[in-house]
């Protein structure tokens, strides 16, 4: 596609529920990144995929968070047993690979009530 697409744009869920956030990167971009942005702060790195594999998941805060990219294109970020502290905007970015700039999507605003 023309840009990075993230769905849904907004998600409200109850504490303890499971959520999935989807990212459609730019066609042909091999690198995909997930970031999380809390209000008033810069994006914080969560995980990086090169192709289908998670090359760096050091930013995932705990084992409730998991992400997949089974065919090297679309990625899903999964959060189990959501907590109110998980409320944030989850941003996805893609790039042609190392040494290239990122293109970000508009994010999914997750609110845990």
């Amino acid at each position: 596609g023309a840009g990075v697409s993230q769905t849904p744009s907004n998600k409200v869920t109850e504490k303890g529920k499971y959520v999935e956030l989807r990212c459609d990167p730019i066609s042909g971009h091999t690198a995909l990144y997930w970031y999380r942005q809390s209000l008033g702060q810069g994006p914080e790195f969560l995980i990086y995929f090169q192709g289908t594999g998670a090359a760096d998941d050091s930013g995932l805060p705990n084992d409730r968070f998991f992400a997949v990219r089974p065919e090297g294109s679309v990625s899903t970020l999964k959060i189990q047993r959501t907590e109110r502290g998980d409320s944030a905007v989850y941003l996805c970015a893609s790039s042609q690979g190392q040494g290239y700039g990122y293109t970000f999507g508009s994010g999914t605003r997750l609110t845990v009530v």
């Binding site: 990075v4 990144y33 970031y35 209000l39 008033g40 702060q41 810069g42 994006p43 914080e44 790195f45 990086y48 090169q50 090359a55 760096d56 930013g59 941003l91 970015a93 190392q98 040494g99 700039g101 990122y102 293109t103 970000f104 999507g105 508009s106 994010g107």
Partner: protein, 113 residues
């Protein structure tokens, strides 16, 4: 990075004036720096980048200055326009193989018409 909670540093500038946004980066080993612009409800958008072997780089109406001695970056916007109103983030990265982009604290730019 250091958290500023809900209260981003804010720079108010009269339309037509020049804006200077400053940033202190954290890792002395970083050798690639990027400025992003983030409008409300959108993901960060690439503005300009600079490598550590340069101290100045110019784009259209924007200039980035890098002072590695004091780990300081600045973004200069000439003839600021209302459309420049946004939050601006500096980001740093190491080149040479995979390294993630790390964002700094943002600055909110308000352009007064």
């Amino acid at each position: 990075g250091e958290s500023v909670g809900l209260h981003l540093p804010t720079l108010s500038v009269q339309e037509g004036d020049n804006s200077i946004i400053n940033c202190a980066y954290s890792n002395s080993a970083s050798d690639y720096f990027i400025w992003y612009k983030q409008e409300s409800g959108k993901g960060p958008q690439f503005i300009i980048d600079i490598r550590s072997n340069m101290d100045k780089r110019q784009g259209q109406r924007v200039t980035v200055l890098l002072n590695k001695t004091v780990k300081h970056l600045s973004l200069q916007i000439a003839a600021t326009q209302p459309g420049d109103s946004a939050v601006y983030f500096c980001a740093e990265k190491l080149t040479g193989g995979y390294q993630k982009v790390t964002f700094g604290t943002g600055t909110k730019l308000q352009v007064i018409p």
